[in-house]
Symmetry: D2
């Protein structure tokens, strides 16, 4: 029997992508969609691509509308999920695609987000390699799950195996990401107009200010230690996102200084060990590096590896679809785990290309 | 009286851009255009955007067709310029937009390009800050000039002032570039088809294999020392270009570990000192970072700076048009210097945006 | 039990899209993929987005490799399918995504394609409204099916109900299509380089020369009459495709002079009657017109209608994904019908947007 | 001596493009830039591509700030220019890039725009072929000039010679335009977000509702008759703009039923006669059709012609840059004429491609 599902924040891009994937999920049935300024409108007006769900009518986002479902996905701007989900019954499985419950360190929350901190939930990156490899166990017990930030997944997946295996130095990581525009959401801002974006590339949140940085640090500390407790590893990362003219996709180029004695073979073994059994992470054969088109619309993340001996750095290039493996797909994958379903239920693997 | 000009390799993108800029240059008159497989065709067939020069007919690329001009621009695939330009008379000013005469170290040539090395020429990056600041003097005396690689200019301009001033450590630089497709030239390759590029980003020449790396190292050694001689500075750079869906433009994100005690004020002073008098380099006010659209069609390079205290790195974001400041504009700028003209003659500053 | 499937011409974009859709089809199992110059390569090398099928190895395209399957999809350049499929056993269901068996009139074949004509097959546009509405019957009996041309489907779907109902004059139709680049296939041609396409629009095959014109005429004659026989209706269409910077999608703007007395209500009724029961054709509510993004990756075609009283023309705007409803999806839809399966098996309806 | 220039509405895309072109105009000096909500900001904040003019500060748009210049360009939303320019002294040359003074028929104004009509000005399309060919005379006497709408120029230039020569029927014209996003201006609207536009095409103002229709009709009536008076020609046009993923450019496909006996030779002669002496209009050789990239950044309009004998229609494909020949370039070209300067002063001809 299907689980009944509600999506809060259905009018945005993350909400729309949750609904696109949920529409063909074999075990979930979308009953309720909620929004704020679009209450009363047909879903099809906001997401004309959602042909089979178009007649659902957006309701007010509130604990009342959301309660009574088996599963609630929350796709709200940060700061809005905490107060709302506090009021939901404990037996409802809640998966938050936003940031409110990702950070375990309250100071990080205050520094990068501000406002009240509502505590960390089980973290929805099941593939994150950790020395005690208990990431999935955490999710299996959970009724509250925080899906990772899209850039975070791209970088953490790319670097974690090397960090976990001690093959790179962790205090001078550098990641530069080419990111598509849908990650910026649907809010109207001058810089997001098509005329400004097409034919141009520009960096933003330069110099250590992006909110995804503390989350990457948290992930990589986990990679270096055990569940829940942060390690004492000194993780430092220079992180720069570059907006490029495509709607979807993140291509992260992450580099880390090689630990003394670390070889390319060591690294390939570590990545194979970490991800060999993962259906949603692919490590490319030597010499190949992924393009984001390969994973468009798919829940797969793909990683290519190179060792630069002159620069003494590992270069890990990772690609994912920010709206799928970066957001909605990750949320559904974690929900599948929490509900004891096939982890890949409803999640596409083939990318839509060209 | 105008100088008579020939362009060798007029059928490609670099050749086309040279001609676009030359068509309105107040002191140059294009007399001859040459090519290889397109000999006998009208220029307008290959570059329908070149309306005023469209009736020029492409001749064979040879010393005979090129000799007899005051100024020859060469835009040929690497390995083709050396043998050809060896045969040109000494009094012809030759500016090579290709790679054949950029590297002063023969071993670097053999490792990254292969084939015969034809020696280094005066290097056409007049703004490169050097301790003895003799870059322009070199060009003023020159009849043979090598214009820099497009990615090289983007990175060298962004890092050289910090290197010259000793404000960063030079042995662990990291640059990741978002680059437009025109830099790959007009050769037919499956990966360059529009269907493969649009909506996608992909990295190439990952792991220290790109040919522009030794040239960046050379530039930054110059930045740390005097003209012509390489310094003993240990320059190491992890360099990754990422192809993104735009025709023109390079956005380089370059990071360098801060030297002990270096402050943001120190850095801003060094960049102001290096570029304050340069009309074709702009350092953005704090908090602003350039987009490539700002310099599309323009000979300007624009740089934004940030200091990331957590990561202990300088982040320099630079934007230029790979075909203008990255290639054709740089070549014309150097020719202007060599011929004693106004350095900016014929070179646009305003970008074509949106 | 699954039907065993072969795809001939698996290295191109149409072949790739067939495989993307087949990979999740509940009743089909891809056993064999064939190609020409790529024989011996892994499918994943050519289509890195096809993660689950990547290890299939491309075999030679021949009757021997293809025979022995229940179902063969052919995605070859025109002229190659005829001789090949002549040699396949009668009990194999063959669906040709190419042009060889679409035209019932041999003269049209010679004029627009040239070479030997191999006869027409059952025509894979089940939704085409015909006065005797026997399009699906034809497919139900068929073991040889020709899927329509992508532009043809976009135009025929948009105009056929009005033609069938006699609400427009048929001798002065005008269609202009914005088409994505993937329709041009994977062959290397200078005009298809990303640098030439991005930021630009250009028309091609202007002035009545496009090969899809006789097929549109054929469809609209069917729309005006009974199965198989052409009507005597005088169908004339000015057809201009415009290449625009997107990989996928066709947006066709088709106009037809209104018949005397025809009203917008009449037209809406005719389209509702024609398509009300169709799951893969959507007629938008008055005032709304589709964008191609709504149907990206989907087998849906969407149509918006307007009546321009000043110009005395119906304007029908139709959107479809050229690789899905325009090619691979249409082929699979017809195969489903021919094999007695659910017509929509394996075919996505929701579009991948933004 | 330079003329002093003010630009009203400098914060938008049309204003920005006026300033880009004016920055290198040999006879004009920009003294004043005005805006509404951006008053007090540096021009460089709004148009970072305008490097040499970046320090101009935006003033309030008012008759006081604008008076006292030799030449005023107005780039305001429709309805705002009329009341403002009524108050400017008669001896100031005013060129309006907006719609307020284009239509000579007050009823058309009320039907398509609404609000007060402020009368028609001299019409800034000097190349429009008219039987008495007095278009330029009108501009030479003018101190008030209305530059045409961007789509209008694309269509009128493409069809006017055929209409003027009586070679096509005028009562059933059909134009479909692929248009870039900058034509929609800088206002924030959900449909103009980059995520919605990239990878998609959509039609808007379908069915005879676009405001540029009456202006095209007016132009083509002029083409059929004498200056100022409208002819009695019955001009009807089905006009559909399609938004495609590029910032700049219009590619208009315009078709007209051939008059009885009209041949392709007749048509080519008519276009040669109309445009042979025009430096900013190019008629392509038979078989060639322009791409918008050829005229990006340029004041040129390019036209390709074909005759479709089956469809009995002329097909004219025209390309221009909506911000240059479509708006700012046209405005400057007309100002040059009005002020007795070289008509092409400050106007680029070569396009920026690829």
């Amino acid at each position: 029997m299907s689980s009944s599902v509600a999506v809060a924040g259905a009018s945005g891009y993350a909400g729309g992508e949750l609904l696109r994937l949920l529409s063909t999920h074999p075990e979930f049935e979308v009953r309720t969609v909620t929004a704020h300024s679009s209450v009363g409108r047909r879903l099809g007006e906001l997401h004309p691509n959602l042909h089979t769900l178009g007649d659902l009518v957006l309701q007010e986002t509130s604990a009342e509308t959301l309660a009574g479902h088996d599963l609630v996905f929350v796709a709200l701007p940060h700061g809005h999920s905490g107060p709302l989900t506090d009021m939901l019954p404990d037996d409802v499985v809640v998966v938050d695609a936003g940031a409110d419950h990702r950070l375990i360190n309250e100071n990080d929350w205050h520094r990068f987000y501000g406002g009240d901190w509502h505590g960390a939930w089980a973290y929805g990156l099941p593939e994150l390699p950790r020395q005690e490899s208990k990431q999935r166990e955490w999710l299996r017990e959970a009724t509250r799950i925080a899906a990772p930030g899209c850039n975070v997944s791209a970088v953490s997946i790319a670097l974690a195996p090397a960090v976990a295996a001690g093959l790179v130095e962790t205090d001078d990581l550098v990641s530069v990401l080419s990111v598509g525009t849908s990650g910026a959401g649907r809010a109207l801002r001058p810089g997001m107009l098509a005329s400004e974006i097409m034919g141009s590339a520009n960096a933003y949140k330069v110099g250590g200010t992006h909110r995804h940085i503390p989350e990457i640090v948290q992930d990589l500390r986990w990679a270096a230690s055990g569940r829940g407790e942060t390690s004492t590893a000194d993780i430092r990362i220079s992180f720069t996102p570059v907006l490029v003219p495509m709607s979807r996709g993140i291509l992260a180029t992450s580099t880390a200084r090689l630990a003394v004695g670390a070889t390319e073979d060591d690294l390939r073994e570590a990545y194979a060990a970490a991800y060999g059994g993962e259906r949603f992470i692919q490590v490319c054969e030597p010499g190949r590096f992924p393009a984001t088109a390969e994973v468009l619309g798919s829940n797969l993340a793909s990683i290519g590896l190179a060792v630069d001996h002159d620069a003494r750095r590992l270069v890990a290039v990772s690609a994912l679809d920010n709206l799928v493996k970066g957001t909605a797909g990750a949320a559904i994958q974690s929900a599948n785990i929490a509900l004891g379903l096939d982890e890949g239920a409803g999640l596409p693997i083939e990318g839509v290309a060209p």
